[in-house]
Amino acid sequence: MAELELRPDRTEEVMTINIGPHHPATHGVLRLVVDLEGEIVKDLRPVIGYVHTGIEKSCEDKSYWKVIPFVERMDYVSYFFQMEAYCGAVERLIELEIPPRAVYLRTLFLELCRIHSHLVWLGTTALDIGAISMLWYCFRERDRILDLFEMATGQRMHTRYFQVGGVIEDIPLGFEQKCRAFVEEMPVRVGQYEALLDRNEVFLQRTKGVGAVSRERLLELGVTGPLLRAAGEPWDLRKAFDYLAYPELDFKIPVGTTGDNYDRYRVRIAEMVESSRIVGQCLDALPEGPHIADDRKYVLPPRSELSTSMESLIHHFKLVTEGFRVGPGETYYAIESPRGELGCFVLADGSSKPARVHFRDPSFVNLQAFREMAVDTYVADMIASLGMLDPILGGVDR
């Protein structure tokens, strides 16, 4: 690893220690090289790359539809968002419209996934700060979301549900009731989490007034998502750009004021309630019709057609063996993930494999703000700030 640059104004007692890569409070395999003076963090440098698996390179060797499971495994907590970013980018390249039902189903699953991601964040971060029971409560609700994912897609994680052109299959019978029951209960649960944490002295000491970075600095550093909104900047791609069903839905963007750890917590808590509302609205407004586009050049024909139509069989064979070709072009498509702007750049060269897939991962960019959040605070505050930053190392390292 590169040599650590120490700040010149350090005193003699500075001790440099490694935190991680194998430490539960680093949320994955993040290594922090920290200069400590007593218990105060004087300087720190995140060292990343321990779970780099070359996903972007591997994507160049797969046909377009086979890339989907790869990109899902980058940020393993918000996998639906990776799929949407990638599928949306490819759909923009081939200029394929997806049917209204698919639009709503995608929005619904994205927001369920946002709640899921925030629940994982809340459970683990509260655990870091010492509130162990939060983990069980959050994972209890998370499990209900995973049950919903399993019901609709067959998988609890890495569902491969979104396809180029729509979603792989329609939601099953009974999903709607189960989902509705969940989103009606979720705001109550969120209220219970708040009741557990909002008067917890340890939690408040570690969050209030800790780790604040000014909104101008956050913007310079390219930070997006709840971190930026907690600092008072109402920036959310769901409102700023027109994608999926968001323009037709009624939801609010929670913002904070000071941008300290407590605001970050409040913003995410409020987002869970808003996401529950969005899921409910999606269920109400779910249009009838096909769940995937009808373009046989890009979308697999229905299974039932294969035994009756020669043409469908040919399409099926071509799509499964070679995959579809995408004309030369490049596109950048960004969506609002639970951690901020998740952008996907796809370069097509006319073949059936993408020439370049790049993910602008919000965790990777947001991590640059961590040094400023944690310097001159206690080690315990640093751990709290790291939790509130919410990096997912699978997304950072890709």
């Binding site: 923009r92 200029e95 913007l219 920036w235 990777f364």
Partner: protein, 172 residues
């Protein structure tokens, strides 16, 4: 997004002060892109960031694509964003491969956009693009002793042996 005529207006304004700075424009599938002369990249980015009528002040993403076999082969992409008008603009600088062990080089935009710090390191790590003036241009995701630029198109997938060095050293 600026539309196609809007893109030409931007080009015209840039060219007025800096003739030859914009090599080409493209408007494809609703996305506007300026292909700029790498030598004048910082001037163009700075103008787009600070000019009152433009204010593309947020750098969403910086990434590199290898256009092999096209020449020049490396494209450094800057996805700029104007957050007031919700408009994106892609600025692209194409770099030729100097051949041998020399690295293609371009000016670092960290001074203009501090967010580019990690992203330029990533581009260096995977494509071997040298960003002149970057404060700490080292590998970020790959090990420091890694040899080669794996995201280049002529770098094979699976091209590196998987070695279990401990076992090899001791029991090899």
């Amino acid at each position: 997004m600026p539309d196609a005529p809007g893109l030409e207006l931007i080009r015209g304004e840039i060219e007025r002060d800096r003739p030859g700075a914009v090599l080409d424009t493209s408007f494809d599938r609703g996305q506007a892109a300026l292909n700029v002369d790498p030598g004048q990249l910082l001037a163009v980015l700075g103008w787009l960031r600070d000019e009152p009528g433009q204010r593309y002040a947020f750098l969403s993403s910086l990434h590199v694509a290898d256009y092999l076999p096209a020449e020049p082969r490396f494209g450094v992409h800057y996805e700029l964003l104007n957050r007031d008008r919700c408009e994106r603009l892609r600025v692209k600088a194409m770099l030729a491969d100097p051949g041998e062990d020399a690295l293609p080089a371009i000016d670092s935009c960290v001074e203009l956009f501090p967010t580019a710090e990690a992203q330029e390191r990533e581009a260096f790590d995977f494509f071997g693009i040298e960003f002149r003036g970057h404060p700490n241009l080292t590998r970020i995701l790959l090990p420091d002793d890694y040899v080669g630029w794996p995201q280049r198109r002529d770098f094979p997938v699976g091209g590196e042996p998987v070695t279990f060095t401990y076992s090899e050293r001791n029991y090899g």
